[in-house]
């Protein structure tokens, strides 16, 4: 089956049919002096995984979408992160049983992006609005075979966060270090002042490795899709992580990564004073440790000593997509929902106020409510200001359908052995890339 494209013609045809049916029914109704017929009741089923995104989409439906489509009901099933991808994969293989729409995380999208893509292409519908979107966050991650299959709403600029209160007590300024080396030097001072550490290094995810590597110009894959995760730059980056762990400046992430209960417990305890994350990670910080409101600050990433380095890197993100199992009468309202969420000022700003996510829809950036919003969790800093600065120098990692295999292999054979067991970084990365070639 060829990839499906939801073209203007498709929509015109469906809309015309719907209009004609409604008009005809209306005339009949008038002639017969019967009550006006109701518009067809349509139910859209969406599968999603993130509470904050569900709240946002439901708010868009309630505030804007319902006015235009009072006959459409949106049901969003909240499915645990990993289960969602398994379920989607199963229904796509089966050819039925799937939802009309789905929220697709960037990293997982890549596994659906080869061969027949099980979503509707949206290029024709997006049209000229593409010029109003930050391509690297809104469209590029969901592009395959030259078509765009999803729209992402958030510019995922990774920022550095630091505990301003605790650093001030030590007489330190978390905004001061401009390079990773200077940051490590501050780590020595933090260590000397007590039990606290500079930062956590995760050994059960390759997130930090990828962010720090991409930030300084490296990548897991080159532009042709060849694995380059064992480059000199990659080895230097992993060795740097190992060094600050070995020196006691950094600690291994409790629970293995920055998404575990143990990690948030350490965060609450003030066990570490710096961490990195995209704006969506701010939601995790707030949800898990609301009592730390006002204690954190945000800043740009430090660069590297050789003067190389971007001030931010794209990480994560989620896009809305229409599956190829969507029923025909749901296509138009489904697209309209995507449009209202992602390609209107109202939807984009609602996402920002509810989630702190900088919209990929750039006209929304002109809105005063966006520019002036202060975030009390970060001492009333202006998230828009910091994310603008980050977006100006944000770099995006090269995408690859085998990204998941690469990441799993790197964690297993490089990140964990190097950080936990003290293995050699270059040798471990070489072994990981060799294994990746076998597994892919």
């Amino acid at each position: 089956m060829a990839n499906k494209t939801l073209s203007r013609r498709d929509f015109l045809r469906i809309s015309a049919a719907a209009t004609a049916t409604t008009a005809l029914a209306g005339v009949t109704g008038l002639a017969g002096a019967a009550p006006m017929p109701q518009a067809e009741e349509i139910e859209i089923l969406e599968w999603a995984f993130a509470n904050n995104r569900i709240i946002w989409q439901e708010a868009v439906v309630e505030q804007f979408f319902k006015e235009q489509y009072p006959n459409v009901t949106l049901t969003i099933e909240n499915i645990p992160y990993n289960d969602l991808w398994d379920k989607l994969q199963a229904v796509f293989v089966a050819g039925s049983g799937g939802p009309d729409m789905a929220d697709i995380a960037i990293h997982v999208w890549r596994r659906f992006a080869r061969g027949e893509v099980p979503f509707w292409a949206l290029d024709d519908r997006i049209g000229d609005e593409k010029d109003n979107l930050v391509d690297g966050s809104a469209l590029a991650p969901w592009r395959a075979n030259g078509e765009v299959y999803g729209v992402g709403n958030e510019v995922n600029t990774v920022l550095m966060y630091y505990r301003e209160d605790l650093l001030s007590e030590m007489g330190l300024d978390g905004a001061a270090p401009q390079t990773w080396e200077e940051l490590a030097a501050m780590g020595e001072e933090i260590m000397a002042a007590g039990d606290r550490k500079l930062i956590c290094m995760p050994d059960n995810t390759a997130d930090y490795l990828e962010q720090m590597l991409v930030q300084r110009g490296g990548n897991f894959f080159d532009e042709e899709g060849n694995p380059v995760a064992n480059s000199d730059l990659s080895a230097e980056t992993l060795a740097f992580q190992q060094d600050i762990v070995n020196r006691g400046i950094a600690m291994l992430s409790p629970g293995g990564d920055p998404y575990t209960e143990q990690y948030y417990a350490a965060m609450k305890e003030g066990a570490f004073l710096f961490q990195m994350g995209a704006p969506w990670y701010q939601g995790f910080m707030k949800n898990n440790n609301p009592e730390l409101e006002g204690m954190w600050r945000m800043r740009l990433l430090p660069t590297w000593g050789d003067g190389v380095g971007h001030l931010s890197v794209q990480h994560g993100g989620t896009g809305m997509a229409i599956t190829n199992q969507a029923r025909e009468n749901t296509l138009e309202p489904a697209w309209e929902l995507i449009r209202q969420c992602n390609l209107t000022n109202e939807g984009a700003l609602l996402g920002f106020t509810l989630q702190n996510l900088v919209p990929t829809y750039t006209p929304a950036w002109e809105d005063p409510s966006f520019l002036q919003l202060q975030d009390p969790y970060f001492g009333d800093q202006l998230p828009a200001e910091w994310n603008f600065k980050a977006a100006e120098d944000m770099v995006v990692a090269n995408s690859n359908p085998d990204w998941q295999i690469m990441v799993e292999t790197l964690i297993r054979l490089a990140v964990a052995p190097v950080l936990v067991e003290g293995a050699n970084a270059q040798e471990s990365l070489n072994a990981a890339v060799e294994e990746f070639e076998f597994q892919r």
Binding site: G115, P254, A265, I411, A416, V420
Partner: protein, 314 residues
Amino acid sequence: MESAQSAVVNVIPPTAAKISWWGRNERKLIPYVFLAPFLIIFLVFTVYPVIDSFIMSLHDIDSLDAGEYIGLDNYIRLVTKDARFGKSLVNATVFGLATVFLQLPLALALALALNSPVLRFRTLARMTFFMPYITSAVVIAMIFRMVFEERYGLLNGMLGSVGIEPIPWLRSADWAMPALILVGLWIWVGSNALFFLAGLQTIPEELKEAARIDGASEWSVFRNITFPLLRPVTIFVITLGIIGSFSLFTQSFLLFNGGSGPRDSVLMPVAYLYERGFNNFKLGYAAAVGYLLTLIVVAVTVVQLLLFRIWGKD
């Protein structure tokens, strides 16, 4: 007499030609009608997937497309080149050995204790030991992730109170398997003890009494009467344990956060199948893992039953 005969003729049903098709075949077909609900479900949800997945295992599939037919290449690659599959089998074997040599003796000891007439609150004790078995594997994994946590974990906290340095249970390739075995003990010792307990209660008390009257010690009674008579239960429990070891998935998968542990130290065959099929979208290869694993489990079970038959003859 004649009138009686004509009465009989009157009650004979119309000629065969007038009996409906259903009427003629009803007796033959009724059993199949009753069986149909099960058979249909079985064919659709078991037989068809089994056949289809075997066909899948002969293809190279890495997307939603049908894939390319490659014969036995997936199997050959698995057996001759895939060190990770080999590692998963080794891990399952280690876990299986722990099941046989740690879990079962403990379960038997527990069953003997629960069977003791001097034990008070026996029902409560049985229920308590059985609870882990009926607790959700997800809940168990989440609890043990906290128990084994290096910095804040309960276990390291207890060990620290007696001066033992924190152990990286879930981070170290050396400690990951012991951690998984400990979880296995916690879950299955109680349920296996109940199997043994059921077996113990079928052993006639008179046999033991007679031996004791003849001067046999308690150890001698256990060694010569109790344990030999528990052989069917032991075979059953060991067989289940070995099969369970090769099909272990949820506990290891969740305990190690969806991973295979440091350096694949707790990678299990089913987890490898899941990783290749769902995470990596190598559906044909994952199907081959499933088939090969089935063959291995069947072979191990057959060998095991043959060994037990030899044991039985002794």
